[in-house]
């Protein structure tokens, strides 16, 4: 993955607007967060292969970045994004990594389902 270039990501978001997409959205602070530090709450969520179509998609922020997708009925929101790539299968992958490279958030958009 590469450091996010927001204008390039914005171009990709524009291309995907209105398309039926499969989404992987995830956030995590690690399954061992509260084991390693009692003051921490292990919290995380992922949803994979949810279908979604957005009207407007925007990337904002000075970096780390935020992406918001407005759908007919609601919203998708993500923050802490630092890296991106279009992978070999043409999917838009965005992720946020902490200072030592651990993934904290992932937002992925694909026209075809992700491997379960």
């Amino acid at each position: 993955m590469e450091k996010i270039n927001p204008s390039l990501v914005q171009e990709e978001l524009n291309k995907l607007a209105g398309e039926p997409l499969y989404i992987h959205l995830e956030t995590t602070n690690g399954a061992y967060a509260s084991h390693n530090d009692k003051s921490m709450l292990s919290a995380g969520a992922f949803i994979r292969n949810v279908k979604l179509q957005y009207k407007i998609g925007k990337i904002t922020g000075p970096g780390p970045y935020r992406v918001g997708l407005e759908t007919e009925m609601g919203w998708l929101y993500s923050e802490g994004l630092t890296e991106w790539e279009i992978d070999e299968e043409g999917r838009l992958l965005l992720a946020g990594h902490d200072a030592v490279g651990r993934l904290a958030i992932a937002l992925e958009l694909s026209k075809t389902p992700f491997r379960k």
């Binding site: 399954a31 992978d87 490279g101 651990r102 992700f114």
Partner: protein, 222 residues
Amino acid sequence: MEEKHVLVIFPHPDDEAFGVAGTILSHTDAGTPVTYVCLTLGEMGRNMGRPVMANRETLPDIRREELEEAARLLGIDDLRKFGMRDKTVEFTDQDALAKRFQEVIEEIEPTTIITFYPGYAVHPDHDATGAAVVQAVRQLKKENRPRIHAIAFAEGSEEEIGDPDVVTDVRQYRDRKLDVIGAHASQTAGLMEQVRGHMEAQDETIEYMLQTERFWTYPIEE
């Protein structure tokens, strides 16, 4: 009691590295066959390598290769990947999972199963794996039951389940165990840096882990 066949059951590639690699090496070196059932490919791992070498979609294939290399280093010829997804073990059909374990147990007739101690293994996948193993063994006829050597590392485990009854000195395997840990580079690069750089703060804990492996024989009730 002499070991005829050891069955190792864990949910994630690298679970076999930290608490068990020395014990596995002692078996495979002695010519005892070891079967390793690994439920997932650690698809949801937070570590992506240092520097970052993977993304969420490439991580499973990278970890599959790491798992296969670790198994090779451990002398394990029979590695079985169960095709589940990381983080979801506790939400799957436990009866069906226990049945899959039973089929393996009936096929290879292990004398010992090594897995996690349900309720005391921190990660929900660990606890769920241990619970399904216990269920599988409990459903076998008493005379056919292998013993379970379970790993517990939750805070306060000793207060509740006592001290481990199997404490093995694996000093002679220390360097090979470190190689097994290192084979899981996407997950362990940070730890390997610590070991190789001899960072003071963590050194003692890491060295203890590399040289000592602790198991609780799980009490299977009637």
